[in-house]
Each structure stands twice: as C-alpha cells, then as structure tokens.
C-alpha cells in the first residue's frame, strides 16, 4: 500500500527516468550511415531517390507542385529550377553514363525558364513587392533571376559544351558585371533598392566559371568585390556577411540562415580562406546540435530579425528554421563537416517525414525547392572542383 502522494511521486519519477533514457536514444532510430546520403564519387541512394522524383516531375509535368509553391512564393518556383539544374550538373559529372539524361533535363529547365522570363519578364519569378516602387538602377533587372540563370548556363556548359548557350551566358555576364560595377556596393538589386548577398555571390560564381569557360578574366573585379564586402557588409557582432543591403551598400538584414550557408559554399570558389572563416562563424552562431539532432537558426542571437518568408516556419524555443536548416545541409556538405551533416540528416528523417513511392523520395514537410536544395547538398562537389582546376569541357 502506498499513499496517493507517493503514487504521484513514483509515477513522476518513472516518467522522468524513462524520458532520461529515451530522449538521448531517440536519434539512433533515425541516424543513417553517411554513404546513405553522401557519396564521394557516385550518387548516394537517397540522392538517387530524390532525383528520381524530380526527373519524374519534369517528365510528367509538375503543374500542381509549382502552383502550390507559387501561391506562397513565386521565387521558390524559380529556385527549385536552379537547385535542380545545378544538382543534375553535379550528377552528370558523378555518373558520366547517365550524363545525357541529366543534361537533357537541364536543357529543358533552362529553356522553359528563359522562355518564361522572356514572355512574362523577371517579375514572374519575383515576389509582388518587386513592383512596389522603381528599381534604383534602370532599366530594372533582377540579380536574383540573372545570377541563377547564369549559373545554370555556366554549369551546363562546364559539363558539356553547347554552342547556343555560350552567347546566352556571355550576354548575361556582361549585363551583371556592368550593373554591379555601377553600384557603390558593387552589387545589383534583386528587388527595388534591395541587394541580396546570396544573389550577388551566386553571380560572382557564375562569372568565375564563365571566365574559365571563355577565357575572360574578372579576377580583379571579384577581388575588389570581396575586399569591399569584408569592409562594409559584415555584421559587427558575428563577423558574418549580412544577407541584404541597399544599392549603395547600407546593410538591411543581418546574417540569415537561409542565405549565409549557401553564401559560404559559393565563397569556396572565390576565396577559400574567407569561406572557411564564414563557415566557422555560421556554424557557431547558427548551427545547433542537441542529443544527436542538428538544425540551423534563422538569425544569430545578436540579431532580432523579422520573419522572412524564405525561412519557412521557425519553431520557437529552439529557433529551428526550416529554410535555414535546408541551406545548412549545403554548407555542411561543402565543408565536409560530417558530424553536423549527419545530425542534420537525422533531424530530416525524424521531422521532415520522408515518403517513398515507386523508388522516388520526397519529404512531406518540405516542398519542391526544399527537396531540390537537399538533393544539391547530397551531390555537390565535382562542379566546384572542375571549376577550380580550370578544366575546359
């Protein structure tokens, strides 16, 4: 016989002991061997399954997927295309026997995207506030759209040359460089008086790869850009690059998870030392691990940012950012941070609800752009290596 109070105490203690046993073990149910999601040479099983779904979407028409994303954010339609095209280029180098399939889909993506841009203008891929006021630089263009299309064209040509794409890439590079040089921040706008670090760094990577392909040399411009960014576009408290700034270089948003991780990956091609420093800082300020699970915050503790639609939901308390965590896969993979990458994948399988159908994989908690970014994180590597080596296709 025990009293009610003792029974309650015993029950509570049992629950506490059970929680202390179960919670630290929970991640073991979801943890996978690294070769399941990342392969040094070929394409991992998980990446193959994710890619199979995207290839299926492009071959079968994906209007529902696109429509549901565009209802929230038209940018995601565009970024889903970019991440998929960049992923397929990486896969083409990893699996030369399947190159023709991958290159065929990249061409399909590029042609459809460029057609839509030509017919409906860059506003089609922008959020509505792009039309809220005039762009500082006229005629208006979006660095977001220009830079990602340029990188699609550049990586496509790096995998296999295609004569039609050479003038398309060169024309876009000339336009981007001209506009960037005219700006006091050496950066072009994606939205009116709003330049994004993500877009401008992607632009620099496209310029760098185009230089390798076509024998141009923008190394002085890139060096100058990096020097200016280190001086004027760094958040003082964290030492991280800010995520957005005005055309004249006044910082707007501080360092942001859904931006800085991709930026560090791109910087690897431009300035490896600076890239590693930014990654270390981002890891400290934004990367989090607890009981085997990993995630990214959207903002560092020292910056109170407003909710950004790019970030997706941010779970309060632990400040888990869906968008920031998705981008963290890219940086963790690029910098071979195996522990962080493994903990991120553990969280992915725990809380993103993988769904397998006919050899195809999708994450229910994600969307097409999220899955494409994950695919990119799983296959990235060969394109940067080839660009660094300066090998002509």
């Amino acid at each position: 016989m025990i009293s009610c109070r003792h029974r309650a105490l015993l029950g509570s203690m049992s629950l506490a002991i059970a929680a202390a046993i179960w919670l630290p073990c929970l991640h073991l149910l979801y943890r996978q061997k690294q070769d399941h999601f990342r392969s040094d040479s070929g394409v991992s099983v998980k990446a193959q399954q994710l890619a199979a779904r995207h290839l299926h979407l492009w071959s079968a028409g994906q209007s529902n997927e696109i429509t549901r994303m565009r209802r929230s954010n038209a940018e995601w339609d565009f970024m889903g295309r970019s991440f998929l095209a960049w992923s397929l280029a990486e896969m083409a180098l990893r699996e030369p026997e399947s190159k023709s399939i991958y290159v065929g889909v990249i061409d399909q993506i590029i042609e459809d995207t460029v057609r839509l841009e030509r017919e409906k203008s860059f506003y089609f891929f922008s959020m509505s506030y792009a039309k809220s006021r005039p762009y500082v630089q006229q005629p208006a263009r979006s660095q977001f759209v220009d830079s990602e299309i340029a990188l699609m064209l550049a990586v496509r040509r790096l995998v296999e040359s295609k004569s039609e794409y050479k003038p398309m890439l060169q024309e876009r590079i000339v336009q981007m460089v001209e506009r960037m040089k005219k700006s006091p921040s050496l950066s072009a706008e994606s939205y009116p008086d709003e330049c994004w670090m993500f877009d401008n760094v992607v632009a620099l990577v496209a310029i760098q790869i185009a230089d390798e392909l076509d024998g141009e040399d923008h190394s002085e411009f890139i060096k100058y850009w990096l020097s200016l960014a280190k001086q004027k576009l760094i958040h003082r408290e964290t030492g991280l690059l800010v995520s957005s700034f005005t055309w004249d270089g006044t910082p707007l948003d501080g360092p942001e998870g859904s931006s800085i991780w991709m930026v560090t990956h791109c910087l690897r091609l431009l300035d490896e030392e600076f890239a590693r420093d930014q990654f270390r800082r981002a890891r400290r300020e934004l990367g989090r691990e607890l009981m085997g699970f990993g995630w990214s915050r959207e903002w560092p503790v020292s910056w109170k940012g407003a909710r950004d639609i790019d970030a997706g939901a941010v779970i309060p308390g632990l400040e888990i950012s869906a968008g920031g965590s998705g981008m963290a896969f890219i940086a963790a993979s690029s910098f071979a941070d195996h522990q962080f990458l493994s903990s991120l994948h553990t969280t992915l399988d725990f809380a993103a609800f993988p769904k397998h159908e006919g050899g195809r994989l999708k994450y229910c908690a994600s969307n097409q752009v999220g899955d494409a970014a994950l695919l990119y994180a799983m296959v990235l590597g060969p394109i940067w290596e080839k660009a660094k080596q300066g090998i002509k296709p």
């Binding site: 029950g11 203690m13 049992s14 179960w22």
Partner: protein
Amino acid sequence: MTSTEEKRRGNFLWRKGISPQGFLIRAALIGVFFVIVHVADLREHTTFLTGTPADAATSLNQTILFGVVYLVAYFSVVIVAPILVLAAGIFAWANLLLAKKPQPAGTADATLQI
C-alpha cells in the same frame, strides 16, 4: 451521486491513471490516434512547415490545421508513447519493490490499495 461516491470514483480514476496500466493505456491511445491521422494521410499537410499549402486546392490555413494535428500525433507516438511504456515498466518494478518492503505501523488510514 453522493460526495462519498464521487470521491471514491475520483480515487479509482486517480489510481488507474497514475499506474503502470494507466501509462500503457495512454500509450495505446496515442498509437491509435497516430494510426488514424497517418491513414488519413495528414502527413502531406506537414508541408506547412515550409509555408506551402498541401496542394493547389487546399488553403494554407487548412494545411496548417491538419499539419499541426499530424505533428502532435507523430511526436506523441515517437516521443511520449515510448516514454510512457518505459515509465510503466519502471513504475511496476518500483511497485514490486515497495510491496515487498514492510510498511511502518499507523500509516494504513492514509493509504490506498495498489
């Protein structure tokens, strides 16, 4: 129902709730709840986490509602239910230990039968 009966019933429910069996019943109920929402494919609605509606015909608010229901069921089944099952085992073991231990005299009035 008299207040004595109410008290007796309350004590009975309390005993059943805070007991190994009570924990196991709760874990089973969570399991059933999860099976229902999983079979209903509410998993697709967790896409609200990226700010995206489940499909072109569904509103984001509806997606959030169903997605949250699925998240509650899922995290209950992978976090809460195993803790309840483990706790039930620990509780039963502790009860056995206490049952073997002789009770001090004079405490019987304030105690309940296990």
